[in-house]
């Protein structure tokens, strides 16, 4: 997390470690969007899992019919 106060320290340490100062930065708004998009992916994964389970359960043969 870099702000205007620790930017110079960050640039110096980063350049020392990596040689060149080239980064991919994310604004706070961008971070929030990313977090919400990942949440949406998680929702989609979970809902697809639930739907698959639903169909699996629906396709199961009736246990009571077997015993009758």
């Amino acid at each position: 997390m870099v702000n205007k106060d620790n930017l110079d320290d960050f640039v110096a340490e980063f350049t020392t470690e990596h040689g060149e100062f080239a980064i991919v930065a994310l604004s706070i708004d961008g971070y929030e969007n990313l977090a919400l998009n990942i949440a949406d992916l998680r929702r989609y994964i979970n809902q697809q899992t639930d739907i698959i389970v639903y169909y699996e359960e629906s396709m199961k043969p009736d246990e009571t019919a077997k015993t009758d």
Binding site: K4, R42, R43, I45, D50, Y54, E57, D62
Partner: protein
């Protein structure tokens, strides 16, 4: 002679009546047997139909129950996103980033690690909560980075400046 003819006519009539009665009897018996067989077939068909109706009703009830469960689960799956939106509205990340970037970075890393583990658990990896931090969270950080993302660091701390996963 007339008597002989009369007798023949009487015997003929009696024979005709007797034959008619016999035919009527055998025909009726045949009809009763056919009707009994048809009745048995209809009873079997009725039993089959009733069993089919019962099976369909059971299946419909099961499907309705599963559908209700599915709707609940689908809504539940939206809970994380809803909570996150609510949380992001409550927080002012810009202000936090200016006030205490280390603390915010630790919280972000912790939340990300927790989310990662939860997704692992939800997608079938039962080691989810026990697994170490993902590799990208364990890289040595520079500058204002969170030192607690280093390998081997405890990730159950409640210190806001550290990676929080619980």
């Amino acid at each position: 002679m007339i008597k002989v003819y009369a007798m023949l006519i009487v015997f003929g009539l009696l024979g005709g009546v007797g034959f008619g009665a016999y035919k009527y009897y055998t025909d009726t018996q045949q009809r009763i047997q056919t009707l009994a067989e048809n009745n048995a077939k209809l009873e079997t068909a009725l039993e089959t139909s009733e069993a089919s109706i019962t099976a369909l009703q059971t299946q419909a009830e099961q499907t309705a129950k599963l559908t209700v469960e599915l709707q609940g689960k689908l809504q539940q799956a939206e809970q994380y996103g809803d909570n996150l939106r609510k949380r992001l509205r409550q927080l002012d990340l810009n202000a936090d980033a200016l006030a205490n970037p280390k603390n915010l970075e630790g919280r972000m890393n912790g939340a990300t690690a927790k989310l990662w583990r939860e997704i692992m658990g939800e997608t079938g990896n039962d080691t989810g909560s026990k697994s170490p931090n993902p590799q990208w969270l364990q890289q040595p950080t520079t500058g204002a980075g969170d030192q607690n993302s280093n390998p081997g660091s405890a990730d159950n701390s409640t210190d806001g400046s550290q990676t929080q996963t619980n």
